[in-house]
Symmetry: none
Subunit: 326 residues, 5 copies
């Protein structure tokens, strides 16, 4: 498939990267149902590591088998499949080339009782190359006590990944003593977390959908003074995208805990309306039965596609500074 | 001996590995009494490091001599013998080629008073090659404070071992502030620990037989909601195997503390019934007299063999999603 | 696009390679007009280095611009575009991801007066990664005085390329004091040259179409004794494919010097009939005007496609030992 | 299978090597029909590289497929299969573990017109590890102009191979300006060539069966003065074995060009009688039909086995100094 | 055994070397019958490589077995045993620590027809370390066309050997177009060859006993003008020692071809009288029967010992400048 204008435009925002990284970014953007649209839906399956196998796969036991997720990502038309080392090794030879892979190179588990989350680095750029991945994924916890070590580890992985032509995806979740539970998804905190990932050189940024809560006093003043619109999730998504270099970095949103289909689709509708680049949808996909998962993912992709048909309108309503850019 | 269908099937689950690793995996699976069955019994002797010589070898003083264990593993028809650097060096030349060796590359002792267990890395992949080992063994303590350093050290050892054609065996024992003593062998915790080893890229996973206890609140809900059968040890073993990529990773069970012969065999019977790939049996073997140890190991192997004769029946009784896979 | 049975079959012949290499092989085989058929047409443009710019590009001056060749490869539906470092750097960012790239890592020029051809290594595996290539290309001159150095350089490049998940394509052209001009394309010499590339670990082998001449005395006896059919080019292509591990290595044919359209298509028809995996067509493509080149390449691809519709018939006519394998 | 006294004795001659190398030597000696006897029959297939595909495989076209040779080596009960990189890669994953592999790391072809043969190094110790080989094979041409470079390249490969636990097999063929065609298989030249391989640290040495010709003047005097028996091939084989550290290095004989079955068996009978450790039989095996090859190899192995039943008698007839040693 | 004044004095001449090298030099000087005297007799067995096995070992067939030479060196009270890689590997484990070993790291053979001798480097400093050698031995051919490459290879080996605490022994034999056959053992040529070895950093230098011939015109003038005494072999040996840093480098003499016992002892008597540090005696030792060899070596050692009892007298007769130094 030839490149589209939108994909060319997105790639132009990463012109400092070498052609290897651009090539892998192109592969991500030109695979599956949303190929060429500039929108992405990624299937991530690291919940086995993070929450344990039963909490992850018992609702749909086919998911115990890593092959299941490769096949689900392929059949549903996802742009990529993201997972830790073990599951990728389990299927990478069998499904070689059929779906772009992202190696999740750090992971945390919920067996340890810890004050602050801190992922372990569990695989490497060399693993990503030998497994044929288009990029690596890495989680940071801005605000947490261990953030600096995380940023520094990421710095080394990023430097190597970019030299070898890989894409760097950063999961950014604020945590820590200075942030309330509610604050973890606050508008200002999510925007700030996403921005830190962009500052660290991430090509693709993944955050949770933000609420209308504003956590930090100084930030709250700034939001109010500038009259930033954060009433609807679409408004908030738009602001997150703006916070990632005015839409020049791909930002996608996680679906969070498994929930009802309507709730998922409503959320996606808002994210798409706000100019979100897409969704990374794990539990809401693989914890459903395969037919339900395929249906849901198809509906999600349809929403992102339909959002493209009315861009002019959307932009007229959006903030000018942003609308002219993506 | 030519390859069997079952061994071919198991190797196919490791298709992303190079032929060197497949060759060593084949050697493990095609040695001893259980050669070709896809089942394994391994003799591990790292207790001298972990508990001191008297606690380990005084019950059967022949065990002070490393040669004794090589010979016991060979004569009993084990698939492999696993030990730290020193004991392997003591006998590797004399017994070269007679039994697959696994170099236990990290160890912890019980002289130091520590809050959380943390093994030291005591040998290397290069040692494994010069000693003629088929693979390395490594212990992780998921849940412990030092787990991340362990995972990260394992990541580097695994990458090198796989590049050089070795097998990676991971001993996975949950520990730590967030886990009660009873919880260390809880169903959910054992399944989770085994799953983490699989996620980290282990080829073979060793855990303790799980009890019916459920430790973590969120996990308990998941087990109950999904109606996961955990009443008998066979049920629980089946769930552990399922938790290791739906049976696509080899998972074996330790015998734990020395105990009566009937107790050992009853436990093995259940593990075999539940589809466990085998046992790794240290103290229950080498702390018995040589004749008793040979008899016990022969009985254990006979149980795993007889379990193979009725697979169809077993599978019909097992959970459907799982039974069709291994 | 999902994998086809034929692509799966081809990949199965490379099962010793890591998933990274399989992934890039898949990309090559699943791009362009011939995607999924197991057939390939590749556009190579290294003639500027080999013969100088005027001899290469004056017939169609658009070819002075490296972008022209990227676009031609994309628009014509080629599987890949192959070129030395400079031209790939010139367009790799602009066309990132739109066409699989092969970095030709050694090249020879015709400024130097040399008795025996010996290419210089002009780029590296690291270059291939940063430019987003699916593999590297390397020319050997079996029979030449410098062949050993070439084989030894290739050995190191191959080891590194395979570790990092790249495909290795070997151009194999016999030359040297012991080979007559006519012998360079002799049946036995071409088959032997292709076989040497396979022996050296090449994934894809490129040779010239062989003539019915037999060059070496000992070989001639062997051909006559075994009654190897070499009357038609189809026969000869079939024998070259057989000589590359009974069809288990991809072998493609170069078009050689620019010639008339009918001559090109007649040749391709025979190569396709003989089971050739495809063509690598440089001067015959880029020295024609763009419309003519597009037409020619489309016709070539159509021939390879139509050859697939009658495989059973072809095989019945082929030599039994071979026909059952590919 | 437990070790036999003979295998233990042989391994004792390599006591300076690390257990890794001893383990791989043990694997070689404990595989196939001759397992445990201290005798070996190895299937080598590097003729495709050396003489071209048609001369090698046209007599039995199944041999074009690398899988054929793996299967032949396994089914015939050979101790090992030796081949260059490409063919080993073609089958190493599929046949992983079923037969010890030797990677032939240098090769020469017969396309080049050369005064003195000089193999190119075509693969590495790292390749041997990733493919699961028990060792590497290397050809030297003592007497040739390029011998020193060969010895020096071998020195580095040997050092690395031994550090990583691999076996080193050296093919030793005298050639060069100072040696007549007849001299290449002369008694003194073969013994000297074998001895040079032993001096260079080879574990296993392969030479051609010697004739009764004596090539070098000084050597002739020494043979005559000492009354070394060289009348029968058995006498000559015994002297070659003696020349390899009095039987403390494994020396095996090549079958040479394809010939009649009786000729092959007569030769093997003499080699066995003279205490040869075995045969490496390529063309005489794979150029026959599979049933004929299986029959021939079985007969060859039977001869080596039967030679073991009457060792006392043989030794009484042999030279005293030697007879007490092997 | 505590160090003697003479050994301390000798070691003081190597004070720039690290203690590791001094330790190994001490071992050489404090082993065997001549321990502590500052005199050395070394058994070298590289003739198998240089002249072939029959010419070397047929006169005394026990010598085919490398163990024989280890035992002979030990039982005869030699200071060291020197040999190439293969023979040292054959016995180094069995005889570990019983006799200082010197690894002969380059060797030449007499199968090749060559204009100028040029040894191949056949082992390495790493080999010397793993085999427990006290040092390495290396042959140079000053005057030959390949001398510079030899000196440069030696430079690298020497640098590494000294860094790792080994002793460097240099065999120095002049050869080449500018030197007549008679000149190879000429007084001036031997002295010059020994001096070059000293210049290159050798710790121990081995040359042939010089004749009274003077080869080079300019040298002849210098000898005559200075009135250097070269009438007796003792005179000439004294001059060679003087030429090696006035006796501050250990210089030993080879016995050359096998010859009659009286001839050997007469030669040694002169060498000892002239202050030679000792003999390196190969064929004259191992080509005799074991009892004869033991007797000869004992006699040789007795001569060196008795020479020590009358040093004052000798020195009065010698040149003053030298006599005060050793």
């Amino acid at each position: 498939m030839p490149s589209t204008d939108r994909v060319k435009q997105i790639l132009s925002h990463y012109a400092s990267e070498n052609p290897g990284t651009l090539t892998n970014l192109y592969r991500l953007l030109n695979t599956g149902t949303l190929a060429g649209t500039g929108k992405l839906v990624i299937l991530p399956v690291d919940q086995g590591f993070e929450h344990g196998p039963a909490r992850s796969f018992a609702p749909n036991p086919e998911g115990y088998d890593p092959d299941y997720h490769f096949q689900l990502a392929i059949d549903s038309g996802c742009n990529a499949y993201a997972a830790p080392l073990g599951p990728l090794e389990a299927g990478a030879a069998k499904f070689a080339g059929q779906i772009p892979l992202l190696l999740k190179v750090n992971n945390s588990d919920s067996l340890a009782k810890v004050d602050a989350p801190c992922s372990a680095i569990t695989s490497s750029v060399e693993d990503a190359l030998r497994l044929g991945c288009v990029g690596i994924g890495y989680t940071i916890y801005p605000g947490s006590g261990a953030r600096n070590r995380q940023f520094e580890d990421l710095r080394e992985l990023t430097l190597e990944a970019k030299r070898k032509g890989l894409v760097v995806v950063v999961w950014s979740y604020a945590r820590g003593a200075g942030i309330s539970k509610e604050g973890e998804t606050a508008m200002d905190v999510i925007a700030y977390s996403a921005h830190i990932a962009a500052q660290l050189g991430a090509h693709i940024i993944k955050v949770k959908p933000p609420t209308a809560h504003l956590e930090q006093g100084e930030a709250k003043k700034a939001y109010e003074k500038a009259g930033i619109k954060i009433d609807t999730l679409a408004d908030r998504a738009r602001h997150v995208v703006q916070s990632c270099f005015a839409g020049k970095r791909i930002v996608i949103f996680s679906g969070g805990e498994a929930k009802g289909t309507d709730a998922v689709l409503d959320e996606v509708r808002e994210l798409a309306k706000g100019g979100g680049f897409g969704s990374i949808m794990g539990r809401n996909a693989f914890q459903r039965s395969r037919p339900d998962a395929l249906k849901l993912l198809a509906d999600v992709m349809a929403i992102y596609k339909s959002a493209l048909r009315q861009p002019r309108l959307q932009r007229q309503r959006g903030q000018k500074a942003v609308s002219t850019r993506w």
